[in-house]
């Protein structure tokens, strides 16, 4: 079980929580487990072709999975997966 941190914009899709505890040995498996439980998350993160949107950054602990093994990056019990879309807010 690893911890997944949910950004504010995705919280409505997971029942409002900031963190989930999810099974899965890789980042891809962790995401699939979230989609199974919370189908709305898939709609927001995945394209019609089934690819992750490029505006979604994923981190295992502090490292961007683009620099690791992308969705095959292994996730251990003590790891934290962070889903991070860009935020725009500032002046308004």
């Amino acid at each position: 079980m690893s911890t997944v941190r949910i950004p504010p914009v995705l919280r409505p899709a997971v029942g409002g929580v900031r963190e989930l505890t999810v099974d899965g040995g890789t980042v891809g498996e962790v995401l699939e487990a979230i989609y199974a439980e919370h189908p709305a998350v898939r709609q927001q993160l995945v394209t019609e072709e089934g690819e992750l949107h490029r505006f979604v950054n994923l981190y295992v602990n502090d490292e961007d999975v683009r620099m690791l093994e992308w969705l095959d990056t292994p996730v251990g019990e003590r790891d934290t997966v962070l889903i991070l879309p860009a935020m725009a807010g500032g002046a308004g």
């Binding site: 900031r18 490029r54 505006f55 502090d62 490292e63 961007d64 860009a86 807010g89 500032g90 002046a91």
Partner: protein, 396 residues
């Protein structure tokens, strides 16, 4: 038995070897660069000193010397006439310094012999009082404070992030602050935009901020740009500024600034906020990653609510805006480790700071070696129009 001043001096002259002005001048001319510690008072130093010397007034000698030299290091002590430096030598010997020389004849003879004299630009007495807590910090000091006074920072947005950032940069004595905002102060801004006031509701935000800044610190020149930054004016706006502080409230402006920061090679201090969450980083063009190395594409509008739509904790703006001011000052002074290469994620509800690594993307469509950097239609791109075409050739 009481000892007179002359007795003390004679004793010091026996204990502390001296160096002649001609020998010191020859060593400096040869590029030897010995450490010269001037023990006179600030006011004497301000009227001129040996180039490259370091000021440690004799009254602070014991407490400050460790920041200047190691006990085994050669130190050439000097004062106005060569007496205070001898007595300072005795003090340092008591502290275990072994490699000391005192400049015979001091600064007076140095100057009379026709050697170079450096007359420092200095803070005025009023500025020295105002910035005294900065001047005390070794990493800032008088030199750093003068640098801040010469610096120019452009803030995009005089709102949630820009208010605290501009206020603290002004207090810090950043000499020129540019404010780009075409909006007027609204009552709903005052929960977080602390540079504005209730009686200035309806006023242009730049003008309102200018009143607050001028009341706080008359050293600061405020340039109000009552416009929205766009691809036609961005290069003119950035021109002459040393650092950009991005406090924009929308993606088109953020991506435009990211590109313009690269084009003009101006460091970009980034922060963004939503509800209880803040992001901050520093993008140093072509040295560290850029905004698009971090976020190659903006999210679609439905995944990118503004603070106006989703809300934001007022205090969060203060935290993140001040992190921006902090980073801007470090960039201006060239000190410390900035957030370049790191994204700081602050969760105000959980009170946790998380650091994520940000690396330069070798295929970055903006700063990579094959990038063709040019302005685009940011509004359309961020709305999702032509997104696909814009990223052809970039890795997935």
């Amino acid at each position: 038995m009481p000892r007179t001043y002359q007795d003390l001096l004679a004793h010091a002259r026996n204990e502390v070897p001296e160096i002649q002005v001609a020998d010191l001048a020859a060593r400096i001319a040869a590029g030897d660069a010995p450490l010269v510690v001037d023990v006179r008072e600030q006011s004497e130093w301000d009227e001129g000193h040996v180039p490259g010397a370091v000021l440690v007034p004799r009254g602070f000698l014991e407490s400050r010397i460790a920041g200047v030299a190691r006990p085994d290091q050669e130190i050439i002590l000097m004062c106005a006439g060569g007496n205070r430096s001898l007595l300072a030598g005795l003090t340092l010997q008591e502290m275990g310094f072994t490699n000391l020389l005192s400049l015979h004849g001091g600064f007076t003879r140095w100057k009379q012999s026709g050697n170079d004299v450096q007359v420092p630009r200095t803070l005025s007495p009023g500025q020295r009082a105002r910035y005294s807590r900065h001047v005390l910090i070794p990493e800032v000091g008088e030199e750093g404070q003068l640098k801040l006074l010469d610096s120019k920072v452009l803030l995009i947005g005089a709102g949630g992030l820009g208010s605290p950032a501009a206020y603290y940069l002004a207090a810090a004595g950043v000499g020129t602050i540019g404010l780009v905002d075409d909006d007027v102060v609204d009552a709903s801004n005052l929960q977080r935009q602390i540079i504005h006031t209730t009686d200035r509701v309806g006023m242009l935000k730049g003008e309102s901020a200018k009143i607050a800044i001028e009341a706080l610190n008359p050293d600061v020149k405020v340039n109000v740009h009552a416009t929205r930054v766009n691809k036609d004016n961005v290069l003119d706006l950035l021109s002459g500024y040393d650092v950009i502080v991005d406090g924009a409230d929308n993606f088109p402006t953020r991506y435009l600034l990211a590109d313009a920061s690269l084009m003009t090679r101006t460091p970009l201090v980034h922060a963004s906020i939503l509800r209880f969450e803040g992001h901050a980083s520093v993008f140093t063009p072509y040295e560290g990653p850029c905004y698009r190395c971090l976020f190659p594409e903006p999210p679609p509008p439905d995944l990118a609510p503004s603070c106006g739509e989703a809300g934001v904790l007022g205090v969060l703006c203060g935290v993140m805006g001040n992190i921006q001011a902090n980073e801007a000052i470090k960039v201006l002074l060239g000190i410390g480790d900035t957030l370049a290469g790191r994204l700081l994620v602050y969760d105000a509800l959980g009170m946790s700071f998380t650091e994520l690594k940000v690396r330069r993307d070798p295929h970055c469509p903006a700063c990579g070696p094959d990038a063709k950097l040019e302005f685009r239609d940011y509004e359309a791109w961020c709305a999702g129009v032509g997104r696909h075409a814009a990223t052809v050739g970039a890795p997935s």
